[in-house]
Protein backbone atom coordinates (compact mmCIF):
# COMPACT_ATOMS: atom_id res chain seq x y z
CA UNK A 1 0.00 0.00 0.00
CA UNK A 2 1.01 3.62 -0.52
CA UNK A 3 0.81 6.39 2.10
CA UNK A 4 1.30 10.03 1.19
CA UNK A 5 2.88 12.43 3.69
CA UNK A 6 2.50 16.08 2.63
CA UNK A 7 3.85 17.90 5.70
CA UNK A 8 5.64 17.26 8.96
CA UNK A 9 3.45 19.76 10.85
CA UNK A 10 0.15 20.60 9.22
CA UNK A 11 -0.57 24.32 9.39
CA UNK A 12 2.89 25.38 10.63
CA UNK A 13 3.64 26.84 7.20
CA UNK A 14 1.38 26.04 4.25
CA UNK A 15 1.88 22.81 2.27
CA UNK A 16 3.61 23.25 -1.10
CA UNK A 17 1.07 22.53 -3.81
CA UNK A 18 3.24 21.25 -6.66
CA UNK A 19 4.55 18.09 -5.00
CA UNK A 20 1.23 17.64 -3.20
CA UNK A 21 -0.61 17.39 -6.50
CA UNK A 22 2.08 15.12 -7.94
CA UNK A 23 1.63 12.88 -4.90
CA UNK A 24 -2.14 12.74 -5.33
CA UNK A 25 -1.61 11.74 -8.98
CA UNK A 26 0.17 8.62 -7.69
CA UNK A 27 -3.16 7.59 -6.15
CA UNK A 28 -2.01 6.86 -2.60
CA UNK A 29 -4.13 4.62 -0.37
CA UNK A 30 -4.16 7.18 2.43
CA UNK A 31 -3.04 10.71 3.29
CA UNK A 32 -1.55 11.20 6.74
CA UNK A 33 -0.33 14.39 8.38
CA UNK A 34 0.69 15.25 11.89
CA UNK A 35 -0.26 18.73 13.05
CA UNK A 36 1.56 19.00 16.35
CA UNK A 37 4.91 19.36 18.00
CA UNK A 38 6.36 19.94 21.43
CA UNK A 39 9.07 22.07 19.79
CA UNK A 40 6.80 25.08 19.82
CA UNK A 41 7.20 25.34 23.58
CA UNK A 42 4.84 25.02 26.53
CA UNK A 43 2.69 28.10 25.85
CA UNK A 44 0.19 26.72 23.27
CA UNK A 45 -0.61 23.65 25.37
CA UNK A 46 -0.63 25.48 28.69
CA UNK A 47 -2.81 28.33 27.43
CA UNK A 48 -4.75 25.97 25.10
CA UNK A 49 -4.35 28.14 22.03
CA UNK A 50 -3.46 27.35 18.43
CA UNK A 51 0.16 28.13 17.58
CA UNK A 52 -0.29 28.50 13.83
CA UNK A 53 -2.68 30.88 12.07
CA UNK A 54 -6.00 29.14 11.55
CA UNK A 55 -5.98 30.24 7.91
CA UNK A 56 -2.91 28.07 7.27
CA UNK A 57 -4.42 25.14 9.14
CA UNK A 58 -7.58 25.49 7.03
CA UNK A 59 -5.48 25.72 3.85
CA UNK A 60 -3.71 22.47 4.60
CA UNK A 61 -6.86 20.68 5.80
CA UNK A 62 -8.68 21.76 2.65
CA UNK A 63 -5.98 20.40 0.35
CA UNK A 64 -5.82 17.11 2.23
CA UNK A 65 -9.58 16.68 2.64
CA UNK A 66 -10.46 17.37 -0.99
CA UNK A 67 -7.73 15.02 -2.23
CA UNK A 68 -8.67 12.24 0.17
CA UNK A 69 -12.39 12.45 -0.65
CA UNK A 70 -11.65 12.57 -4.38
CA UNK A 71 -9.47 9.45 -4.08
CA UNK A 72 -11.92 7.99 -1.50
CA UNK A 73 -9.09 7.05 0.87
CA UNK A 74 -8.61 7.67 4.60
CA UNK A 75 -7.24 10.99 5.85
CA UNK A 76 -5.60 10.88 9.26
CA UNK A 77 -4.59 14.09 11.06
CA UNK A 78 -2.64 13.91 14.31
CA UNK A 79 -2.20 16.32 17.22
CA UNK A 80 -4.89 18.69 16.01
CA UNK A 81 -4.12 22.38 16.17
CA UNK A 82 -0.50 21.98 17.35
CA UNK A 83 -1.15 20.52 20.80
CA UNK A 84 -3.95 17.96 20.43
CA UNK A 85 -6.15 19.36 23.20
CA UNK A 86 -9.91 18.82 23.06
CA UNK A 87 -10.26 22.38 21.78
CA UNK A 88 -7.92 21.57 18.90
CA UNK A 89 -9.81 18.40 17.94
CA UNK A 90 -13.18 20.19 18.08
CA UNK A 91 -11.88 23.07 15.99
CA UNK A 92 -10.43 20.79 13.32
CA UNK A 93 -13.69 18.83 13.15
CA UNK A 94 -15.57 22.13 12.70
CA UNK A 95 -13.19 23.16 9.92
CA UNK A 96 -13.74 19.78 8.22
CA UNK A 97 -17.51 20.32 8.50
CA UNK A 98 -17.27 23.83 7.04
CA UNK A 99 -15.09 22.62 4.16
CA UNK A 100 -17.41 19.70 3.42
CA UNK A 101 -20.39 22.03 3.20
CA UNK A 102 -18.57 24.64 1.14
CA UNK A 103 -17.40 22.06 -1.39
CA UNK A 104 -20.66 20.09 -1.36
CA UNK A 105 -18.88 16.86 -0.47
CA UNK A 106 -20.91 13.69 -0.30
CA UNK A 107 -21.44 12.41 3.25
CA UNK A 108 -18.48 10.79 4.97
CA UNK A 109 -17.60 9.56 8.43
CA UNK A 110 -15.35 11.58 10.72
CA UNK A 111 -13.83 10.12 13.87
CA UNK A 112 -12.71 12.61 16.53
CA UNK A 113 -10.36 11.04 19.06
CA UNK A 114 -10.00 13.18 22.17
CA UNK A 115 -6.93 12.71 24.36
CA UNK A 116 -6.83 15.62 26.78
CA UNK A 117 -6.59 14.54 30.41
CA UNK A 118 -7.45 17.04 33.11
CA UNK A 119 -4.95 17.77 35.88
CA UNK A 120 -7.77 16.90 38.33
CA UNK A 121 -8.01 13.42 36.79
CA UNK A 122 -4.24 13.01 37.07
CA UNK A 123 -4.39 14.04 40.74
CA UNK A 124 -7.11 11.39 41.26
CA UNK A 125 -4.97 8.78 39.53
CA UNK A 126 -1.97 9.70 41.66
CA UNK A 127 -4.14 9.52 44.79
CA UNK A 128 -5.31 6.04 43.75
CA UNK A 129 -1.71 4.86 43.69
CA UNK A 130 -0.84 5.26 39.98
CA UNK A 131 2.76 6.41 39.63
CA UNK A 132 3.13 9.17 37.05
CA UNK A 133 6.67 8.28 36.12
CA UNK A 134 9.10 10.90 34.85
CA UNK A 135 10.83 10.56 31.50
CA UNK A 136 14.37 11.71 30.70
CA UNK A 137 15.51 11.80 34.30
CA UNK A 138 12.46 13.64 35.69
CA UNK A 139 11.12 12.64 39.08
CA UNK A 140 7.64 11.10 39.37
CA UNK A 141 4.99 13.81 39.26
CA UNK A 142 3.89 14.87 42.72
CA UNK A 143 0.62 16.63 43.54
CA UNK A 144 2.35 20.01 43.54
CA UNK A 145 3.57 19.46 39.95
CA UNK A 146 0.10 18.35 38.86
CA UNK A 147 -1.46 21.43 40.48
CA UNK A 148 0.94 23.65 38.52
CA UNK A 149 -0.33 22.03 35.30
CA UNK A 150 -3.04 23.91 33.37
CA UNK A 151 -3.50 21.47 30.49
CA UNK A 152 -2.27 17.95 29.81
CA UNK A 153 -2.68 15.52 26.94
CA UNK A 154 -2.17 11.77 26.68
CA UNK A 155 -0.19 10.75 23.60
CA UNK A 156 -2.07 8.04 21.71
CA UNK A 157 -0.45 5.11 19.97
CA UNK A 158 -1.67 2.96 17.11
CA UNK A 159 -4.68 1.31 18.76
CA UNK A 160 -7.36 4.04 19.01
CA UNK A 161 -6.56 5.34 15.52
CA UNK A 162 -6.65 1.89 13.95
CA UNK A 163 -9.97 1.18 15.71
CA UNK A 164 -11.47 4.37 14.24
CA UNK A 165 -10.38 3.45 10.72
CA UNK A 166 -11.71 -0.08 11.12
CA UNK A 167 -15.01 1.35 12.36
CA UNK A 168 -15.35 3.05 9.00
CA UNK A 169 -13.94 6.53 9.56
CA UNK A 170 -12.97 8.29 6.34
CA UNK A 171 -11.34 11.14 8.22
CA UNK A 172 -9.71 10.73 11.63
CA UNK A 173 -8.92 13.86 13.67
CA UNK A 174 -6.69 12.84 16.55
CA UNK A 175 -5.82 14.60 19.76
CA UNK A 176 -2.18 14.32 20.75
CA UNK A 177 -0.71 11.34 18.94
CA UNK A 178 2.67 9.78 18.37
CA UNK A 179 3.57 10.81 14.82
CA UNK A 180 4.66 7.39 13.66
CA UNK A 181 1.49 5.77 15.05
CA UNK A 182 -0.72 7.80 12.69
CA UNK A 183 0.90 6.12 9.69
CA UNK A 184 1.17 2.74 11.39
CA UNK A 185 -2.57 2.71 12.18
CA UNK A 186 -3.46 3.12 8.52
CA UNK A 187 -0.94 0.50 7.41
CA UNK A 188 -2.10 -2.01 10.03
CA UNK A 189 -5.72 -1.52 9.03
CA UNK A 190 -4.59 -2.82 5.64
CA UNK A 191 -2.91 -5.88 7.14
CA UNK A 192 0.68 -4.63 7.30
CA UNK A 193 2.47 -6.01 10.39
CA UNK A 194 3.50 -3.63 13.18
CA UNK A 195 7.23 -3.51 12.36
CA UNK A 196 6.79 -2.31 8.77
CA UNK A 197 3.82 -0.16 9.70
CA UNK A 198 5.72 1.77 12.38
CA UNK A 199 8.86 1.95 10.29
CA UNK A 200 6.79 3.67 7.61
CA UNK A 201 5.61 6.14 10.23
CA UNK A 202 9.11 6.85 11.44
CA UNK A 203 10.39 7.49 7.92
CA UNK A 204 7.41 9.51 6.66
CA UNK A 205 6.40 11.59 9.69
CA UNK A 206 8.35 14.70 8.68
CA UNK A 207 7.52 14.43 4.97
CA UNK A 208 10.35 15.85 2.83
CA UNK A 209 12.85 15.96 5.72
CA UNK A 210 13.79 12.37 4.81
CA UNK A 211 14.92 13.58 1.37
CA UNK A 212 17.77 15.76 0.14
CA UNK A 213 18.47 18.57 -0.49
CA UNK A 214 16.78 20.10 2.56
CA UNK A 215 13.22 21.31 1.84
CA UNK A 216 10.19 21.58 4.11
CA UNK A 217 6.50 21.00 3.35
CA UNK A 218 7.07 18.90 0.23
CA UNK A 219 5.26 15.60 -0.27
CA UNK A 220 6.87 12.19 0.03
CA UNK A 221 5.33 8.77 -0.51
CA UNK A 222 6.01 5.47 1.21
CA UNK A 223 5.14 2.11 -0.34
CA UNK A 224 4.72 -0.34 2.47
CA UNK A 225 4.69 -4.14 2.49
CA UNK A 226 5.21 -6.81 5.13
CA UNK A 227 9.01 -6.64 4.80
CA UNK A 228 9.74 -2.94 4.62
CA UNK A 229 9.14 0.49 3.20
CA UNK A 230 10.16 2.15 -0.07
CA UNK A 231 10.25 5.95 0.09
CA UNK A 232 10.46 8.53 -2.67
CA UNK A 233 9.92 12.29 -2.89
CA UNK A 234 7.45 14.09 -5.14
CA UNK A 235 9.41 17.33 -5.47
CA UNK A 236 11.36 16.92 -8.71
CA UNK A 237 14.59 18.28 -7.21
CA UNK A 238 14.57 16.03 -4.16
CA UNK A 239 16.03 12.54 -3.69
CA UNK A 240 15.47 9.91 -1.01
CA UNK A 241 18.94 8.40 -0.68
CA UNK A 242 20.13 5.86 1.89
CA UNK A 243 22.08 8.72 3.53
CA UNK A 244 19.13 11.11 3.64
CA UNK A 245 16.69 8.49 4.89
CA UNK A 246 19.11 7.11 7.50
CA UNK A 247 19.98 10.56 8.77
CA UNK A 248 16.29 11.34 9.12
CA UNK A 249 15.79 8.09 11.08
CA UNK A 250 17.87 9.61 13.88
CA UNK A 251 16.43 13.14 13.67
CA UNK A 252 15.09 14.74 16.87
CA UNK A 253 15.56 11.65 19.00
CA UNK A 254 17.88 10.49 21.71
CA UNK A 255 18.18 6.86 20.64
CA UNK A 256 18.46 6.38 16.87
CA UNK A 257 17.77 2.68 17.23
CA UNK A 258 14.48 2.77 19.13
CA UNK A 259 11.07 4.27 18.42
CA UNK A 260 9.05 3.91 21.60
CA UNK A 261 5.25 3.85 21.30
CA UNK A 262 2.56 2.61 23.68
CA UNK A 263 2.83 -1.17 23.83
CA UNK A 264 6.43 -1.60 22.76
CA UNK A 265 9.47 -0.45 20.86
CA UNK A 266 10.40 -0.48 17.20
CA UNK A 267 13.95 -1.83 17.13
CA UNK A 268 15.88 -0.22 14.26
CA UNK A 269 19.32 -1.57 15.13
CA UNK A 270 19.51 -3.75 12.04
CA UNK A 271 17.92 -1.45 9.48
CA UNK A 272 19.18 -1.84 5.93
CA UNK A 273 18.99 1.06 3.48
CA UNK A 274 19.17 0.23 -0.21
CA UNK A 275 19.04 2.65 -3.13
CA UNK A 276 16.57 1.34 -5.74
CA UNK A 277 17.40 4.25 -8.01
CA UNK A 278 18.89 7.67 -7.40
CA UNK A 279 15.67 9.04 -5.86
CA UNK A 280 14.19 5.95 -4.19
CA UNK A 281 15.36 4.10 -1.09
CA UNK A 282 14.08 0.86 0.38
CA UNK A 283 14.36 0.25 4.12
CA UNK A 284 14.04 -3.17 5.73
CA UNK A 285 15.09 -4.90 8.93
CA UNK A 286 12.88 -3.26 11.57
CA UNK A 287 11.75 -5.47 14.44
CA UNK A 288 8.75 -4.87 16.71
CA UNK A 289 9.42 -5.70 20.36
CA UNK A 290 6.20 -5.65 22.35
CA UNK A 291 6.46 -4.78 26.04
CA UNK A 292 4.45 -6.41 28.80
CA UNK A 293 3.09 -3.04 29.89
CA UNK A 294 1.15 -0.42 27.95
CA UNK A 295 2.59 2.93 28.98
CA UNK A 296 1.12 6.19 27.73
CA UNK A 297 3.08 9.42 27.64
CA UNK A 298 1.54 12.50 29.26
CA UNK A 299 2.57 16.01 28.27
CA UNK A 300 1.56 18.93 30.45
CA UNK A 301 2.22 22.65 30.72
CA UNK A 302 1.45 25.23 33.36
CA UNK A 303 1.67 28.97 33.77
CA UNK A 304 4.67 30.46 35.52
CA UNK A 305 3.72 34.12 35.39
CA UNK A 306 3.16 37.19 33.24
CA UNK A 307 6.00 38.27 31.01
CA UNK A 308 7.36 41.48 29.53
CA UNK A 309 10.42 42.18 27.40
CA UNK A 310 12.54 45.17 26.40
CA UNK A 311 15.16 45.41 23.66
CA UNK A 312 18.38 47.33 24.40
CA UNK A 313 21.80 47.79 22.80
CA UNK A 314 25.29 48.75 23.92
CA UNK A 315 28.00 50.10 21.60
CA UNK A 316 30.59 51.81 23.85
CA UNK A 317 33.70 49.56 24.00
CA UNK A 318 34.47 50.56 27.58
CA UNK A 319 30.93 49.74 28.69
CA UNK A 320 31.13 46.43 26.81
CA UNK A 321 34.34 45.61 28.68
CA UNK A 322 32.44 46.15 31.96
CA UNK A 323 29.20 44.47 30.85
CA UNK A 324 28.88 42.30 33.94
CA UNK A 325 29.09 45.41 36.12
CA UNK A 326 26.28 46.98 34.10
CA UNK A 327 24.04 43.94 34.55
CA UNK A 328 24.91 43.76 38.25
CA UNK A 329 23.99 47.43 38.67
CA UNK A 330 20.61 46.81 37.11
CA UNK A 331 19.95 43.77 39.29
CA UNK A 332 21.00 45.68 42.39
CA UNK A 333 18.54 48.47 41.60
CA UNK A 334 15.77 45.88 41.25
CA UNK A 335 16.60 44.40 44.64
CA UNK A 336 16.80 47.87 46.17
CA UNK A 337 13.29 48.67 44.99
CA UNK A 338 11.47 45.33 45.04
CA UNK A 339 13.47 43.05 47.31
CA UNK A 340 15.13 39.89 46.15
CA UNK A 341 13.58 37.94 43.26
CA UNK A 342 13.15 34.87 45.50
CA UNK A 343 11.28 36.83 48.18
CA UNK A 344 9.14 38.82 45.82
CA UNK A 345 8.45 36.25 43.12
CA UNK A 346 9.83 38.03 40.09
CA UNK A 347 12.61 37.01 37.71
CA UNK A 348 14.73 38.94 35.22
CA UNK A 349 16.90 37.45 32.48
CA UNK A 350 19.35 39.40 30.34
CA UNK A 351 19.73 37.68 26.96
CA UNK A 352 22.95 39.25 25.69
CA UNK A 353 23.17 38.74 21.93
CA UNK A 354 26.77 39.17 20.88
CA UNK A 355 28.01 37.28 23.93
CA UNK A 356 25.88 34.22 24.82
CA UNK A 357 22.35 35.20 23.83
CA UNK A 358 21.90 32.17 21.58
CA UNK A 359 23.31 29.37 23.69
CA UNK A 360 23.16 30.75 27.22
CA UNK A 361 25.20 28.71 29.67
CA UNK A 362 26.18 26.21 26.93
CA UNK A 363 28.23 28.91 25.17
CA UNK A 364 31.92 27.94 25.36
CA UNK A 365 33.03 31.47 24.42
CA UNK A 366 30.87 33.89 26.46
CA UNK A 367 32.96 36.88 25.46
CA UNK A 368 32.06 40.03 23.53
CA UNK A 369 34.24 39.96 20.42
CA UNK A 370 32.21 42.37 18.33
CA UNK A 371 31.61 46.08 18.52
CA UNK A 372 28.10 45.92 19.97
CA UNK A 373 25.64 43.70 21.81
CA UNK A 374 21.87 43.50 21.84
CA UNK A 375 20.15 42.73 25.12
CA UNK A 376 16.67 41.31 25.43
CA UNK A 377 15.48 41.96 28.96
CA UNK A 378 12.95 39.29 29.92
CA UNK A 379 10.93 39.84 33.10
CA UNK A 380 8.47 37.40 34.67
CA UNK A 381 6.22 38.28 37.59
CA UNK A 382 2.86 37.44 39.10
CA UNK A 383 0.89 40.21 37.42
CA UNK A 384 1.15 42.02 34.11
CA UNK A 385 1.76 45.32 35.89
CA UNK A 386 4.57 43.87 37.98
CA UNK A 387 6.22 42.26 34.93
CA UNK A 388 6.07 45.54 33.02
CA UNK A 389 7.41 47.54 35.94
CA UNK A 390 10.27 45.17 36.69
CA UNK A 391 11.17 45.02 33.00
CA UNK A 392 11.18 48.80 32.66
CA UNK A 393 13.34 49.29 35.73
CA UNK A 394 15.80 46.62 34.61
CA UNK A 395 16.06 48.10 31.10
CA UNK A 396 16.35 51.73 32.23
CA UNK A 397 19.08 50.82 34.66
CA UNK A 398 21.19 49.51 31.80
CA UNK A 399 20.92 53.11 30.59
CA UNK A 400 21.77 54.56 34.03
CA UNK A 401 24.48 52.08 34.99
CA UNK A 402 27.38 53.86 36.74
CA UNK A 403 30.88 53.08 35.53
CA UNK A 404 33.90 55.06 36.78
CA UNK A 405 35.53 56.06 33.50
CA UNK A 406 32.74 56.13 30.97
CA UNK A 407 33.06 58.94 28.44
CA UNK A 408 29.44 58.94 27.35
CA UNK A 409 27.61 60.60 30.20
CA UNK A 410 24.22 60.84 28.55
CA UNK A 411 23.24 57.18 28.73
CA UNK A 412 25.02 53.83 28.86
CA UNK A 413 22.71 51.89 26.57
CA UNK A 414 20.44 52.51 23.60
CA UNK A 415 16.72 51.84 23.77
CA UNK A 416 15.29 50.14 20.71
CA UNK A 417 12.29 52.05 21.96
CA UNK A 418 11.69 53.16 25.54
CA UNK A 419 8.94 50.65 25.63
CA UNK A 420 8.12 47.51 27.48
CA UNK A 421 6.57 44.92 25.22
CA UNK A 422 3.98 42.71 26.83
CA UNK A 423 4.88 39.16 25.81
CA UNK A 424 2.83 36.03 26.03
CA UNK A 425 2.66 34.73 29.59
CA UNK A 426 5.48 32.42 30.62
CA UNK A 427 4.68 28.71 30.80
CA UNK A 428 6.77 25.65 31.52
CA UNK A 429 6.61 21.98 30.60
CA UNK A 430 5.43 20.52 33.88
CA UNK A 431 4.83 17.00 32.61
CA UNK A 432 7.00 14.82 30.40
CA UNK A 433 5.88 11.61 32.03
CA UNK A 434 4.24 8.23 31.43
CA UNK A 435 1.40 6.37 33.10
CA UNK A 436 0.78 2.64 33.07
CA UNK A 437 -2.83 1.98 34.00
CA UNK A 438 -3.22 -1.75 33.30
CA UNK A 439 -1.40 -4.64 34.99
CA UNK A 440 1.53 -6.15 33.03
CA UNK A 441 0.52 -8.72 30.46
CA UNK A 442 -3.08 -7.56 30.29
CA UNK A 443 -4.98 -5.83 27.52
CA UNK A 444 -4.78 -2.01 27.86
CA UNK A 445 -8.39 -1.47 28.90
CA UNK A 446 -7.93 1.40 31.34
CA UNK A 447 -5.28 3.03 29.16
CA UNK A 448 -7.75 3.12 26.26
CA UNK A 449 -10.15 5.13 28.41
CA UNK A 450 -7.70 8.02 28.08
CA UNK A 451 -8.83 8.21 24.43
CA UNK A 452 -12.48 8.96 23.62
CA UNK A 453 -13.68 8.48 20.06
CA UNK A 454 -16.78 10.16 18.63
CA UNK A 455 -18.04 9.30 15.15
CA UNK A 456 -20.07 11.75 13.16
CA UNK A 457 -21.32 12.03 9.62
CA UNK A 458 -20.26 15.11 7.72
CA UNK A 459 -21.12 16.43 4.30
CA UNK A 460 -24.13 17.20 2.16
CA UNK A 461 -27.29 15.96 3.79
CA UNK A 462 -29.13 13.57 1.51
CA UNK A 463 -32.71 14.61 0.81
CA UNK A 464 -35.11 11.82 1.64
CA UNK A 465 -37.98 11.73 -0.85
CA UNK A 466 -41.10 9.65 -0.44
Amino acid sequence: MKIMSPTGHLGFTPIERGSFEAGVADRPDAIVADSGSADIGPYPLGADLAHSPEEWQRHDLELCLLAARELDVPLVIGSASDTGTDRGVRRYVEIIEELALRHGLRPFQVAAIYSEVSPARLIELAASGVVIEGLNGRAPADVETLRRTDHAVAVMGVEPIKAAIEAGADVVICGRASDSSLFAAVAESRGIPRASALLAGKLLECASFCAEPFMGKETVIGEIDADGVTVYPKHPQQRCTPASVASHAMYERIDPYAEVVPGGVLDMRDLRFEALDERTTRVTGAVWRPSTTYSVKIEGAGKVGERAISVMGIRDPYTLSRLDDVLAWSRAKLVERYGSPQERGYRVFFHVYGRNGVMGNLEPHPVVDGHEVGIVVEAVAGTTEAAEEVCALAARNLFYARLPEVKGTAGGASFFSDEVLLARPAYEWTLNHVVTLDPPGQEPVRAMQLFRTEMLQVGRKTVVTK
Binding site: A38, D39, I40, G41, P42, Y43, L135, N136, G137, R138, P242, A243, A246, S247, A249, M250, Y251, E252, R253, I254, D255, P256, Y257, L271, F273, E299, V304, G305, R307, R347, F349, H351, N356, G357, V358, M359, G360, N361, L362, E363, P364, H365, E378, V380, A426, Y427, E428, W429, N432
Partner: protein, 102 residues
Protein backbone atom coordinates in the same frame (compact mmCIF):
# COMPACT_ATOMS: atom_id res chain seq x y z
CA UNK B 1 41.64 19.08 10.25
CA UNK B 2 38.60 20.91 11.62
CA UNK B 3 35.48 18.81 12.11
CA UNK B 4 33.56 21.31 9.96
CA UNK B 5 35.77 20.35 6.99
CA UNK B 6 35.23 16.60 7.47
CA UNK B 7 31.50 16.36 8.22
CA UNK B 8 28.78 17.15 5.69
CA UNK B 9 26.08 17.93 8.26
CA UNK B 10 26.48 19.20 11.82
CA UNK B 11 23.17 20.04 13.52
CA UNK B 12 21.37 20.34 16.84
CA UNK B 13 17.67 20.05 17.61
CA UNK B 14 15.30 19.30 20.46
CA UNK B 15 14.79 15.64 21.27
CA UNK B 16 11.68 16.08 23.36
CA UNK B 17 11.33 18.96 25.79
CA UNK B 18 14.23 18.12 28.10
CA UNK B 19 17.06 17.34 25.66
CA UNK B 20 19.02 18.74 22.75
CA UNK B 21 20.46 16.17 20.39
CA UNK B 22 23.43 16.71 18.09
CA UNK B 23 24.08 14.91 14.79
CA UNK B 24 27.44 14.93 13.03
CA UNK B 25 26.97 13.22 9.67
CA UNK B 26 29.65 12.31 7.12
CA UNK B 27 29.26 11.78 3.41
CA UNK B 28 32.79 10.47 3.01
CA UNK B 29 33.35 7.05 4.67
CA UNK B 30 37.04 7.82 5.24
CA UNK B 31 36.24 11.09 7.00
CA UNK B 32 33.71 9.24 9.15
CA UNK B 33 36.21 6.54 10.18
CA UNK B 34 38.95 9.07 10.73
CA UNK B 35 36.74 11.08 13.10
CA UNK B 36 35.38 8.07 14.98
CA UNK B 37 38.85 6.50 15.34
CA UNK B 38 40.42 9.76 16.50
CA UNK B 39 38.35 9.63 19.70
CA UNK B 40 38.31 13.44 19.67
CA UNK B 41 34.52 13.38 19.78
CA UNK B 42 33.62 11.70 23.05
CA UNK B 43 31.24 12.33 25.95
CA UNK B 44 34.19 13.73 27.91
CA UNK B 45 35.36 16.08 25.17
CA UNK B 46 31.83 17.36 24.58
CA UNK B 47 31.21 17.92 28.28
CA UNK B 48 34.45 19.92 28.43
CA UNK B 49 33.59 21.91 25.29
CA UNK B 50 30.13 22.93 26.52
CA UNK B 51 31.26 23.36 30.12
CA UNK B 52 28.77 20.89 31.58
CA UNK B 53 28.93 17.88 33.86
CA UNK B 54 29.57 14.57 32.13
CA UNK B 55 26.25 13.19 33.40
CA UNK B 56 24.32 15.72 31.30
CA UNK B 57 25.51 13.87 28.18
CA UNK B 58 22.73 11.32 28.26
CA UNK B 59 23.67 9.39 25.14
CA UNK B 60 26.54 9.08 22.72
CA UNK B 61 26.08 6.79 19.72
CA UNK B 62 28.19 5.98 16.69
CA UNK B 63 25.46 5.33 14.11
CA UNK B 64 26.85 3.45 11.13
CA UNK B 65 23.69 3.41 8.98
CA UNK B 66 23.95 7.18 8.53
CA UNK B 67 27.74 7.45 9.01
CA UNK B 68 27.01 9.65 11.96
CA UNK B 69 28.04 10.46 15.49
CA UNK B 70 25.08 11.40 17.64
CA UNK B 71 25.00 12.66 21.20
CA UNK B 72 22.41 14.23 23.45
CA UNK B 73 22.64 16.84 26.19
CA UNK B 74 20.05 17.25 28.93
CA UNK B 75 18.90 20.85 29.10
CA UNK B 76 19.43 22.91 32.21
CA UNK B 77 15.68 23.62 32.16
CA UNK B 78 12.95 22.38 29.80
CA UNK B 79 12.66 24.14 26.43
CA UNK B 80 10.67 27.36 26.63
CA UNK B 81 11.08 27.89 30.37
CA UNK B 82 11.69 31.59 31.15
CA UNK B 83 15.37 32.37 30.61
CA UNK B 84 15.94 29.48 28.17
CA UNK B 85 17.45 30.98 25.03
CA UNK B 86 16.93 28.46 22.21
CA UNK B 87 13.39 27.05 21.97
CA UNK B 88 14.14 24.49 19.26
CA UNK B 89 17.73 23.85 20.34
CA UNK B 90 18.65 24.51 16.74
CA UNK B 91 21.73 26.75 17.17
CA UNK B 92 23.84 24.84 19.69
CA UNK B 93 26.09 23.02 17.22
CA UNK B 94 28.63 25.62 15.95
CA UNK B 95 31.16 25.08 18.79
CA UNK B 96 31.70 21.61 17.31
CA UNK B 97 33.14 23.08 14.10
CA UNK B 98 36.57 23.77 15.50
CA UNK B 99 37.24 20.38 17.07
CA UNK B 100 40.59 19.32 15.66
CA UNK B 101 40.59 15.83 14.14
CA UNK B 102 44.13 14.51 13.59
Amino acid sequence: MRLAELASTIRSKNAGVDHITFDVIFRDPAAYRRTVDSGRLSPESIAALYGIDRDRITSFVVFDPAQAIKFTIRRERPAGTPGEPDLFGSQCYPPLFDIDIP
